[in-house]
């Protein structure tokens, strides 16, 4: 049933697409390298957290919508009530997680003796605003991807997670750069 050649061939196209996007994300980092490395290294700690949590929330949301579609409790309709409730829960969950983690990051940066150049309050504000906008965006992406793939007869479980994490990585960094004004 499993053969390594099949695994490699099935995995390659999506992986290559993700790879190209992710290298571009890396180029964005390089473009703003001086600012992040020299002036605000604490945001270097923040990037994996913003992207990781955003991607996870988007994937959890997508998995719930996908199961709902499979079971028939969610309809392909932008006015679907259960879908709205799931999105609101995701945003609430994200706000709590991001607030707690931003305090943790600030403390770790401070303990590690990184150059801070930013107050705790404005760090939390920047982090939280970036996070909430990201989750809002990823919720839309996740719901739309789940709807489209389900309509086309592709299992949303296979598609939503890679799409959401890749878009999350790109926009997480773009939105963050917008707010720290680099």
């Amino acid at each position: 049933m499993y053969h390594w050649k099949k695994i490699v061939i099935n995995g390659m196209p999506l992986l290559f697409l993700c790879l190209l996007v992710e290298v571009m994300v890396g180029q964005l980092l390089l473009l703003k390298e001086q600012v992040i490395l020299a002036r605000l290294p604490v945001f270097l700690i923040a990037i994996p957290v913003i992207n990781g949590v955003g991607g996870n929330i988007g994937s959890i949301l997508g998995a719930h919508i996908a199961s709902g579609l499979h079971v028939g409790s969610v309809e392909i309709n932008l006015k679907d009530k259960i879908m709205h409730e799931t999105v609101i829960t995701a945003i609430l969950m994200g706000s709590i997680t991001y607030t707690l983690l931003s305090i943790g990051i600030y403390l770790i940066g401070w303990i590690n003796g990184l150059a801070m150049n930013v107050s705790l309050l404005s760090f939390i504000t920047t982090f939280l605003t970036t996070g909430i906008i990201l989750i809002g965006l990823l919720s839309i992406v996740s719901v739309v991807t789940a709807f489209i793939s389900f309509k086309k007869g592709i299992d949303p479980d296979d598609v939503v997670a890679p799409v959401v994490t890749t878009i999350g990585d790109t926009f997480g960094i773009l939105i963050l750069f917008l707010f720290i004004g680099v």
Binding site: Y2, T86, M93, T97
Partner: protein
């Protein structure tokens, strides 16, 4: 949804803070080798994709009755291990090559190609080996206790995967600096 997912999210976020701290302590090496920063998002993302897919395939194989605790090291598992490792090598090498050329085109900046390729390959292969063994270990424990692997491997890999990958990139960059 809130009750079940929130603890997991926070745990994963703490994993993210660790990953970020490793990035933070690499500031000096990023200064010395500018192109290195470019490969970080790619390696982390693809490591995550490859090992999560590996974990979920093993989960499905368990549900299909292809592997279980008594019959672990069989052909289904071997094919999956080989497939994941080959994907790791191919994808890591491509990341290195694409990163080298895009840096050259966008920034007219010449990164040491051998350094970049060596670093991503060593990091990709070592993190692939470590995370594959980790997944097999977790799956074995899950089988023995009779849990559903689908509920455990994803979050476990999300937390441990990024940290392991970051450590591997750090170590292989230092290694390549010493060698070259």
């Amino acid at each position: 949804m809130l009750k079940q997912s929130l603890p997991l999210l926070i745990l994963c976020g703490i994993g993210g803070i660790f990953t970020g701290s490793i990035l933070g302590s690499m500031v000096d090496i990023f200064h010395r080798i500018p192109g290195l920063l470019v490969v970080i998002p790619g390696i982390i993302a693809l490591r995550g994709n490859i090992s999560t897919a590996f974990g979920s395939r093993l989960g499905s194989a368990y549900h299909l009755g292809l592997i279980n605790a008594e019959n672990m090291w069989n052909d289904a598992l071997k094919q999956n291990v080989i497939g994941s490792l080959i994907l790791s090598v191919l994808v890591s090498a491509t990341i290195g090559i694409v990163a080298y050329f895009t840096t050259l085109v966008f920034f007219q900046q010449q990164v040491n190609f051998i350094f970049l390729l060596g670093t991503v390959l060593i990091a990709g292969i070592t993190s692939g080996l470590l995370l594959t063994s980790f997944t097999i270990g977790i799956i074995y424990l899950v089988f023995k206790r009779g849990y559903d692997p689908d509920n455990i491997t994803g979050p476990a890999l999300a937390t441990v995967g990024d940290i392991t990958t970051m450590l591997c990139i750090f170590a292989s960059a230092v290694f390549m600096e010493v060698v070259l």
